[in-house]
């Protein structure tokens, strides 16, 4: 018997679209600084793509001009255009939490967020918690050894940061119940719990 020629449908990657519509894209289109890749369809709605468009993303407090296709994820743009590789490609579908960043203050998976939809919204990555003034969350991760191979760690640090921003007085039970969006394979959960408890005790809001 002969099978159809389409191969594995679950390979990930976004399929090409002739154009992308919808509130996010329309807002992005309106926000585009240049006319490149920007047109109007018959209904007058803004249309972006299918090729590259120049947009501005505000990342960790600074504006960056980047070139994006409509199908590009925020993760790809952060990693390969801005060299911010803290957010990791792990599951490709948001399952692992490994690509957690903040967009407009809310934690999202950068791997399932289209870059175009982030125009005009401040983006914060794990790199912003490092540098000269180390945020209490990564500091507690180091102090409690909440890492082994470390590949899930940046996403986990962001998840804990977001959770404690919202629940600065979290109890251990609340920590165990509220941080289930991230996968670690090495088995650092026990130490991550200790790290989160330490941050709560330190009263550190970051």
């Amino acid at each position: 018997m002969t099978q159809p020629t389409r191969s594995n449908p679950s390979r990930g990657g976004f399929h090409r679209r002739d154009f992308l519509r919808g509130s996010g894209a329309a807002a992005a289109a309106t926000a585009l600084a240049t006319g490149q890749g920007l047109a109007a369809d018959e209904t007058g709605a803004a249309v972006v793509g299918p090729g590259m468009s120049k947009i501005t993303l505000n990342v960790n407090g600074a504006d960056h001009a980047v070139l994006v296709e409509p199908r590009m994820t925020l993760l790809e743009v952060l990693r390969y255009q801005l060299n911010l590789t803290g957010a990791k490609p792990i599951s490709g579908d948001g399952t692992s939490g490994g690509s957690t960043v903040f967009v407009a203050g809310k934690p999202v998976s950068a791997s399932t967020t289209l870059a175009l939809t982030c125009v005009g919204k401040p983006i914060q990555t794990v790199e912003s918690l490092g540098g000269a003034k180390l945020d209490p969350v990564p500091a507690a991760f180091v102090h409690n050894d909440g890492m082994q191979c470390g590949f899930c760690t940046p996403g986990f640090v962001m998840a804990v940061r977001a959770f404690l921003n919202k629940h600065p007085q979290a109890t251990e039970d609340e920590i165990r119940a509220g941080l289930n969006g991230n996968i670690c394979r090495c088995g650092t959960y026990a130490n991550v719990i200790m790290a989160a408890i330490e941050v709560v005790k330190g009263g550190a809001r970051g």
Partner: protein, 747 residues
Amino acid sequence: MAEYSWPKQGTTTLIGKEVDRVDGVEKATGAAKYSYDIVLPKMLFARVLACPHAHCKIKSIDAAAAKSVPGVVSVQLLAKPKEEIKWQGYLLACVAAETEGAAAEGLDAIAVEYEVLPHFVTEQFLEAAEAADRTGKAGATVELENDAPEDEDEDAFVEAEVKRQLEAADVVVEGYYGIHSITHCCLETHGSTCEWQGDKLTSHLSTQNVSGTAGQIAGPLKLPASDVTVHCDFIGGGFGSKFAADEWGVICAQIAKETGRPVKLMLDRETDQRIAGNRPSGFVRVKLGADKQGVVKVWDSVQWGTSGIGGGGVDEKVVPYVLTPPNRRSRAVRVSTNTGPSRAWRAPNHPQACALSQTAYDDLAAKLGIDSYDVFLRNLDSASNKKADVYRAEMEIAAKLMDWKAKWHPHGKGEAKGSIVEGLGMAIHTWGGAGHASNCLLKIHPDGAVGIQLGSQDLGTGTRTAIGIVVAETLGLPLSDVKVEIGSSKYPQSGPSGGSTTIAGVSESSRRASQDALRQIAAKVAEKLGVGAEQAEKMVAKEGRVFVADKPDAGMTWKQACALLGMQPLEVQGKYNPGREKSPLSSSGVAGVQMAHVAVDKATGVVRMKKFVAVQDIGLIINRQCAASQVYGAAIMGIAFSLFEERIMDPATGAFINADLGHYHLPRLGDIGEIVVEFYEPASEYERGVIGLGEPPVISPGAAISNAVANAIGVRVPVLPITPIRVLEALGGNGAVPAKWTSGASS
């Protein structure tokens, strides 16, 4: 021959203490660069096309359309027409493009016609495998107290003797147990980022074998191995699956050469799950015979399992596991399946062997109505590693931490809170953990700066930190004054990180180099001070000073001492080759005990971890914090394969249907309960030197948790992972399970 030794116990500043990772901040803030994170100018993104069928022939494969997809730069066909493919995920083609999206689109444009062939992917039922003609003979291990008479046929005697022993036993337990295949799930998929400088290649390869992979890439590329550098500062998980450069590591280098541009080729998650390694499954039928006290006299088992097309499975030599009765026969059958090939998975063979045999010991306790603890205790004299005393001491410690005696109840006789019942289980393990061969180069500069290089890697163990601790302790310096460089094949060769060999190996080479260097510096200090050779030999380095041991004033600062080197830095090579003689710095052989406390909801079949206790002997501890992390991590991985994770093969399509991280269930932070880690360390442990720790604690969770579930509900859930559906099936369904679910496809 210089003498090497560890500092006297209780005199160390860093060794054995809780030390934060030297690269912890880098990892926690995203600064650490993994192979996946290497971003190079004009870099291309490559993706692979994987075969969707478990067994097929390629009729035709046409990539013409892929080449015209905007952004696609290179298309490589890896499979040929007429080629027979024997497992899903086999690589057919590779596309490199300007963006990830363009690469994915390029793959979609490749037209492949398949002739689909019959497959066999489910090995759980031996009769089905035999009927499909997919079984082959594997090993058989026999140990008997009585020898066959001179003129009797050996096989016939063994058969009769095993039968006789079983008939003579006070009690016989017959059991069926199993553990499904699982994958490695390295969170960083397998792959590399490759760049050429002229005819020289740098492969930023995600590998647990930095020193051993350059040659694997050079060979197929017909390059001298010296022209290939493998670089890996950080690796996002390996667990035994990243020893090789792999086909895709070579393809990446080839495309980079062909296009003249750097290429990143990391497997997509689904393909990684399908072809980048799994742990062989194991199923067993057991008959054991014991006396009324629960001391096992005879064991007879037939086991089967798969490691892919080549058959294989679990080594029957480690079944029964640790507890090895005086009369035993364990036979193995290989089952060949159309599934991706197995790779070493943390403690190869042991986790399965433990789950296949220490469950039977617990069923013996249930049958006799004896406390499982006592059955394990009474069989310790049969421990294969002769460490009954260690187990006994550890069991006492574990029982206290678990409050075993107070919590214990006979199997199935616990007090129910509504539909929830609780139970306790235990299991024990063994492992070697001898240090691997390791070389290092230690450089001490005239300004006092210290650097050390090894071709090693940090699998998550905290390798950099351990090396730094050893050097800093030996030279009397703060940890931050030692610059540790690992992760490049340009550095002196050190072993692959497998078999729990790394910390002992790198500690050996770095301690040897540091002690040798200190002797040379001490000689110069002694000469400068004008003290005799005898005093020179008594020189120590502590708190930034080098001085005569019992005369702190007879010395100078580290910087002053290093200034005596003159113009050139002091270079010392540290070398460790195991096997030549017993080293005073490291040894091997551990014995650990684990206990699990679970709660089971009989209405839903859900098992929750309440508490897990791991007691582990370890020898001399370098970094107490990272050592404890290894045990916590192993316990959590154990909880994962006991309750959650399973490679699910679809008998109808031959597909690995949960080859992702959404449906391939791993535990989350809220699933682990309380975990208690305790090291067993009488003074004699320190004297044993450094012993590897990565593997041992991952071995016994399967049996311990399965035994705890059996103790809670009063029946055995025979196959791991113990998912809700399997619990309900074991309980008889309670009417909650549709009949079609109980047809073996699920259990």
